[in-house]
């Protein structure tokens, strides 16, 4: 199986604080891996190093076998990212935003691509509206459209359904499942929604205090820790709940 994303002995230290400690894992092509852990456990730092936003103190990030530190800009063509903490320019319309990012990622046949994304993500009803005036669910769908506009081979999702109502959350999860099957994208999903992780991820990494403390399929982890679901596994591993 082809490895799309490989993390080798990755560490990040800020002055004296170790944010990420010597972690290693792989995401194969056409696979969704979940990354779980409490706030401040190192998930965002790990994602930032994968995106080349942050220089690792030690270790390597390989995208399709090439080290990000060596060919950052070229490899960014194959990556994309969505996070509720990052927004698109508020004053631009949805279509203008998608045009801007389509150009930045040098997307061929951009109009067709925007039409496709608009239909798939139900953006048509507000495609010409100002992005800042949209509801959080609509903004989330626009950000999702931006994150797949370049058909990334590796997609990084940081809490993609945070603050969404159940219907929109389910729509986004269903879309991601369908999209991933169609495009065979490798996805790294950081989430606090355990049912989402159980539904989407073939394997899960549990992080705490910068380290990977456990990993396996959701079912393996549930059985291994003798719990009913991933939420209980999460609490046990992060809080030491017995």
């Amino acid at each position: 199986m082809t490895i799309a994303l490989e993390i080798i002995n990755l560490s990040k230290t800020y002055d004296t604080k170790e944010a990420v400690r010597n972690i290693s894992f792989k995401v194969n092509e056409n696979e969704i891996i979940g990354i779980l852990g409490p706030n401040g456990c190192g998930k965002t730092t790990t994602i930032a190093m994968i995106l080349g936003l942050l220089k690792p103190t030690k270790g390597k990030v390989l995208i399709n076998g090439i080290e990000i530190e060596k060919q950052r800009v070229d490899l960014l063509n194959n990556l994309n990212f969505i996070s509720p903490y990052i927004e698109l320019p508020k004053k631009l319309t949805v279509k203008q935003n998608l045009e801007v990012y389509g150009r930045l990622y040098d997307v061929k046949e951009l109009e067709i691509k925007i039409d496709y994304l608009s239909e798939k993500l139900r953006l048509n009803e507000f495609i010409n509206k100002i992005t800042g005036e949209l509801s959080s669910g609509q903004k989330n769908r626009v950000s999702l459209a931006k994150s797949i506009i370049n058909d990334p081979s590796v997609l990084l999702l940081d809490e993609p359904t945070a603050s969404l109502d159940p219907e929109t959350g389910d729509f986004v999860r269903s879309f991601l499942e369908e999209y991933q099957k169609e495009k065979k994208t490798s996805i790294l999903l950081a989430s606090h929604n355990m049912s989402e992780v159980e539904r989407l991820c073939s394997s899960v990494l549990m992080m705490n205090k910068g380290s990977i403390i456990d990993q396996g399929t959701p079912m393996e982890l549930i059985q291994k820790h003798g719990r009913k679901n991933m939420e209980e596994v999460f609490l046990k591993l992060t809080r030491g709940l017995v």
């Binding site: 220089k55 960014l76 990212f81 903490y85 990052i86 990012y101 990622y105 931006k146």
Partner: protein, 258 residues
Amino acid sequence: MYGLFLRHFYLIKSSLPRVLDLIYWPTIQIILWGFISKFFSIYSDYYNNTLGIILTCAILYDILFRSSISFNMLFLEEIWSRNFTNLFIAPLKLKEIIISLIFTALIRTLIGLVPAIILTSPLFGISILKLGFPLLILFLSLYIFGITLGLFVSSGLMRFGPSFENIAWSSLFLLAPLGCIYYPIEILPEVFQIIAKGLPLVYVFDETRNILINGLVNYENIKQAYLLNLIYLIFGIGLFYLSFLRARVKGTLINMGE
């Protein structure tokens, strides 16, 4: 009422940059107008066409101001709209970012300046276009220095985050008294003259006054201004690259604007 006062008092008390900011603006204004007043009280008959020279220099200074602010604004708008991270995860080389900012800043500068230039003619009977071809050379020199200042400030924003924003606004005003926009360098105290000689502005504005008063072009001034511009521009680009590298180590590119 007291609660609202406390809310702002705590904010000021806890932030030295805010206190310095409050002191900075009146100080700079007084220094600038002090030098202008000193010049006119000593050399009241220096200019035959005072209004023309003052207005022309004010418009030229605005070229510097607008180009630098435009460059900074492009950067700040990405931070304010929390779009900064999206830009730095797009496959863009730093040189591509710099070139696009330079070009966009030029458009913004022209949009802001052209109406002002047009208005001075019917309102005051003065046209900056009377400078002729040298206007283009002076414009370019000020524009280059403006975007160089923009590079310095953007480097600071990238390295230190939004807290560097106040510097973005205040940096240009610091140059106003030292740049000798409305008066010759000799008006400044000697120690300020030494600093001012390191700024291309002094040569640009000296040459502007020279052209308007004598109708001649001294290419020595222009050469000196461009030489200094080149040095600062190279330094500004280097600093931008260095700040990006440092920001990647320190993590300031993550969630900028939060």
